[in-house]
Amino acid sequence: MKKGEMLTGFKTMFKHPYRRAAEWKRITGKKVIGCVPMYFPDEMVHAAGALPVALFGSGEPISHADAHLMTNACDQVRSTFDSLLKGHYDFMDGVAALHVCDQVRFFIEVWQLDRPFPFFHQMWRPFKMDGSTRPFLLKELERLKSSLEKLTGNQITPQALRESIESYNESRLLIRAMNDIRSRRPGILGAADTARIIAAGMLMPIEENITLMKQLISVLEREAIDGSERTRIVVAGHPCAVPDADLLDMLENYGLSVIDDDLFSGGRRCATDVILENDPVEALADSYMNALPCTTHHFPSAWMKSGDDHSPYSDHVIEMVRKGNAEAVVILRMMYCDPFDLEFVFLKKRLEEEGIPFLPLVTQHGPVPLESLRTRVQAFAERLKTHL
C-alpha cells in the first residue's frame, strides 16, 4: 500500500471516529467503552475483552450541550457532551473517565446523572504522585477491574492483563518508531497526519492498530525525503483534544516541521511503557507514578524545597526541544483549559530564560479562524528563518 492511501485511510477513520467500533461490536457481540481523555487505562478494558475508544468529541458546531453545561467549560468537554446528546455514543455500552481536571470530574458527574449509561465508571488518579498516594491508586485500579469484570462477565486474569499491556506497549513502541522517522526526516509525515494516525489508534482494536502501524512504518522507511532545509519545531499543549488539522498544516506550509510534540494524540501517548516486572496491576500503578510531567499532575518532591523555581512540565518541553534539536516551540492553548493556562505562565518564563523562541496560539472549538493566526505564524516562521 502507498503512503497516500494509508494516510487517507487514517483520515477517514478519524473523520468517522466510531464507525469501526460499531462495526466491531456488531461482528463480535462484545462491549465498547467510551473513555474520556486523558490517561484512562485502556489496557484494563482490553483485558476484559471490551474495546476502549477515546471520546474526542467532534468538529461539529456545539448545538445541544450548552443547554446542559455552562459555557465556561472547555471545548473538549462541551463537544464531548454535545456528541453524546446528538446520539453519537448511543451504540456504546458504557463510559469511563479518569478525573484529570476539574472540568472532566464535574462534567462526567453531570453526564452520569443527566444521561446515564448502563456502565459508568469514574476513576481517581491521584493528582499528587508519590508513595503516599500509590496505595489508593492501586485500589482504584482494582475497583475498575471489578467493574469491568461485572460488565463483561470476563475475569481479568493477571495473564490477560499482562498480554493487553504487552499489546499496548507494542503500539507505543511503533508510535515512537514513527515519531523517530519524522524527527530524522522532517516533512515525511505532516503534523496533522501524525495526530490523526495516533488518534485513530485510540478508536480501533489495538491489534488492528499494530498491523496498520507496522505497514505505515515500512512504507515510511522506504520513502526518500530529506527535509533538512525545514525549520524543526516542537508542538506542546492541547492536552486532551486533537488539534485542528488546518492549523497544523498551516504551520508546516510556512516551512516549519513538527519533529516532536507533547500532544495526547501524539508523543505523550507513546512516551512511556508500562514496565511489566511483577503484578500487572502494580505495573499499571507504577506507570502512573512515573508518568511524564503533565499540567494535570503535581510532583510533590519538586515543591517541598525552599528557594527554587520548579516546573517539571517546562523541563519536559525544554528537554524535547534539546533532544530533538528543535529551534522553537509552538504552544497550542485550548480555550478554558485551566491547568495548561496556569502552567503556561511558567513555561513562557522558562522558554524565555532558555532563549527558545515560542509562539502561543489559542484555539477554540470548530474550524480555527486561520486568517487571524496566519500573520502571526508567518511572522514567526520568517523570524526563525532569519535568525537561524
Binding site: 446542559h68 453545561l69 455552562m70 465556561n72 467549560a73 468537554v77 478525573h99 481536571c101 476539574d102 472540568q103 470530574r105 464535574f106 462534567f107 458527574e109 453531570v110 452520569q112 446523572l113 443527566d114 465508571h121 469514574q122 481517581w124 491521584p126 493528582f127 499528587k128 503516599s132 498516594t133 496505595p135 489508593f136 485500589k139 482504584e140 475497583r143 467493574s147 499540567t295 494535570t296 503535581h298 510533590p300 515543591w303 517541598m304 524545597k305 525552599s306 528557594g307 527554587d308 523555581d309 520548579h310 516546573s311 478554558y336 485551566d338 491547568p339 493556562d341 496556569l342 502552567e343 503556561f344 505562565v345 511558567f346 513562557k348
Partner: protein
C-alpha cells in the same frame, strides 16, 4: 442587614484581632506562618504552632473591598488568562504586588509554608504551586479524591490520613519540633465545639421569619474557618445562638415584610453583596440559607480520634462531594428551611461550582417545583458582573414566585 446583630460587632473584633496578630507575628517571627486552603487538614498546622492564614478568605475580603480587580490586573500583565479563577489571580496578584512594593491593599502576613488540598478543586494545587514559586517556600498538597459512588469511604479517609502522617513528619523537620498529640486533641476538641456552634447558628434560619439572613450570616464563616482551634470561635457561636434564639422568641425578623424565602447557590459575588441584598429586599425576597455554608461546616472532627477525624474532615469536604450528593443536600435544605425559590450564582471563573450548577438548579425546579434563576458574575472580579442583566433575572424570579403563590 438593617436589623444589625450584636454578633456582627463581635465578629469585627475577632477579624481585627486575627489580622493584627498576623502583622505582629510577621514582625517578631515568634511563630511560623502558613497559608492554607479552606479544606486542608489545618488542625495539624495549628498543633505544630503555625499561625494560619487563608488566601481564599483574603480574596473574598479583597472582593468585598473592591481591591481584587487591581490584583487580578497584576496577573494579567504576567500572562495569566482572565478566565482563570479570580480567587487564584487575586492571591497571586496581591503576592506579586507585595513583593514588588506596589500593593495598595493590606496584604496577608508573609508565609513560611504553604498547605493545600485539592478537595475543593484541582486548580487550587496549581495556584499553590505558583505561590510556592513566587514566595520561594515549600508547599504540600493533600490529595483528596472526589467522592463518587462506588468508592469506599474508609479507603478515601485512609488515603488522606497517610498523607497527613507524611505532613506531620515534614513539619517536624521543618519546624524542628515534635508533633504534640495532646495539643492536637485539644485543637480538635475546640474545633468540634466550634463546628457544633456553627451548625446551631445555621439551623436558626429554619425559623420563619428568619432571624438572620444569608447576608447577615455570611461573614460568620470566618471563626469556624480561621479560629476554630481557639475556644473564642465556639464562644462566638454560642453567644450568637442565644441572640438568634431571642430574636425567634421575640418574633424579630432579619428584614420585616419579606414574602419569599430563598436559597443561594454558589460563592457570593463579594463586591455585590449590598447591591444584591437591596435588590432582593425590594422584590420582597429574603435569602435564607445556602449550601455554601456547608463548605465551612467541618463536622467530622472527633476528639476521641483526632487524626482520623481530621483526615475524614478533609476527605469529606463538601466541595469534594459528588454532584449527586450536592443535589440531594440542596433538595434537603429546600425542604428543611421551607424555601420558596433559589438564586444560583454562576461564577465564570469557577468551574467546580459552575459546571454542575445547571443540573442542580434544574433538578430543584423539576422535583420541588421551586422557581429558580441563574445569575451571572464572578467571585471577586467585578468586571464580569452585569448588574442590569441580573436584575432582570431577579425580577423574573419574583414574578414566578408571585404567580406560583396565587
Amino acid at each position: 442587614m438593617n436589623q444589625r446583630l450584636e454578633a456582627q460587632h463581635r465578629l469585627g473584633g475577632l477579624i481585627q484581632k486575627h489580622y493584627g496578630r498576623a502583622r505582629e507575628i510577621e514582625r517578631t517571627r515568634e511563630q511560623p506562618i502558613a497559608w492554607a486552603s479552606t479544606g486542608a487538614p489545618n488542625e495539624i498546622l495549628w498543633a505544630m504552632g503555625f499561625f494560619v492564614q487563608f488566601p481564599e478568605a483574603y480574596a473574598a475580603t479583597c472582593g468585598a473591598r473592591h481591591a481584587a480587580h487591581a490584583h487580578c490586573a497584576v496577573t494579567e500583565a504576567r500572562g495569566y488568562e482572565r478566565h482563570l479563577c479570580t480567587y487564584c489571580r487575586n492571591s497571586i496578584g496581591a503576592s506579586l504586588a507585595e513583593m514588588e512594593g506596589t500593593g495598595a491593599f493590606e496584604p496577608l502576613a508573609r508565609p513560611d509554608f504553604l498547605l493545600v488540598s485539592n478537595n475543593s478543586c484541582i486548580l487550587i494545587t496549581k495556584w499553590w504551586e505558583h505561590l510556592s514559586h513566587y514566595w520561594k517556600i515549600p508547599m504540600i498538597n493533600i490529595d483528596s479524591p472526589l467522592v463518587v459512588p462506588g468508592m469506599d469511604r474508609g479507603d478515601i479517609i485512609g488515603h488522606v490520613k497517610r498523607q497527613c502522617i507524611d505532613l506531620i513528619q515534614f513539619l517536624e523537620d521543618f519546624t524542628k519540633k515534635r508533633f504534640d498529640h495532646d495539643r492536637m486533641k485539644e485543637i480538635v476538641e475546640n474545633g468540634k465545639r466550634s463546628a457544633d456552634g456553627y451548625r446551631g447558628m445555621l439551623d436558626a434560619s429554619r425559623h420563619d421569619p428568619v432571624p438572620a439572613s444569608f447576608f447577615d450570616l455570611i461573614g460568620h464563616n470566618f471563626p469556624n474557618l480561621v479560629l476554630r482551634y481557639d475556644p473564642a470561635s465556639a464562644e462566638h457561636y454560642e453567644q450568637m445562638k442565644t441572640e438568634l434564639d431571642m430574636r425567634i422568641a421575640g418574633g424579630v425578623a432579619a428584614a420585616p415584610g419579606m414574602k419569599y424565602r430563598l436559597y443561594w447557590d454558589g460563592v457570593p459575588y463579594w463586591f455585590a453583596i449590598r447591591n444584591l441584598y437591596e435588590k432582593l429586599r425590594n422584590f420582597g425576597m429574603s435569602l435564607v440559607t445556602s449550601t455554601y455554608f456547608e463548605v465551612f461546616a467541618f463536622e467530622n472532627l472527633d476528639p476521641s480520634h483526632p487524626l482520623d477525624s481530621v483526615a475524614e474532615n478533609t476527605a469529606m469536604f463538601y466541595l469534594n462531594r459528588s454532584v449527586g450528593y450536592k443535589t440531594e443536600t440542596t433538595e434537603r435544605i429546600f425542604r428543611d428551611f421551607h424555601l420558596d425559590g433559589g438564586v444560583f450564582a454562576y461564577a465564570s471563573s469557577c468551574k467546580p461550582f459552575s459546571i454542575s450548577m445547571h443540573y442542580i438548579a434544574d433538578t430543584v425546579r423539576k422535583k420541588l417545583g421551586a422557581p429558580v434563576t441563574i445569575i451571572e458574575g464572578d467571585l471577586v472580579d467585578e468586571t464580569f458582573y452585569d448588574e442590569e442583566r441580573n436584575n432582570t433575572k431577579l425580577q423574573a424570579l419574583a414574578e414566578a414566585l408571585a404567580a406560583k403563590r396565587k
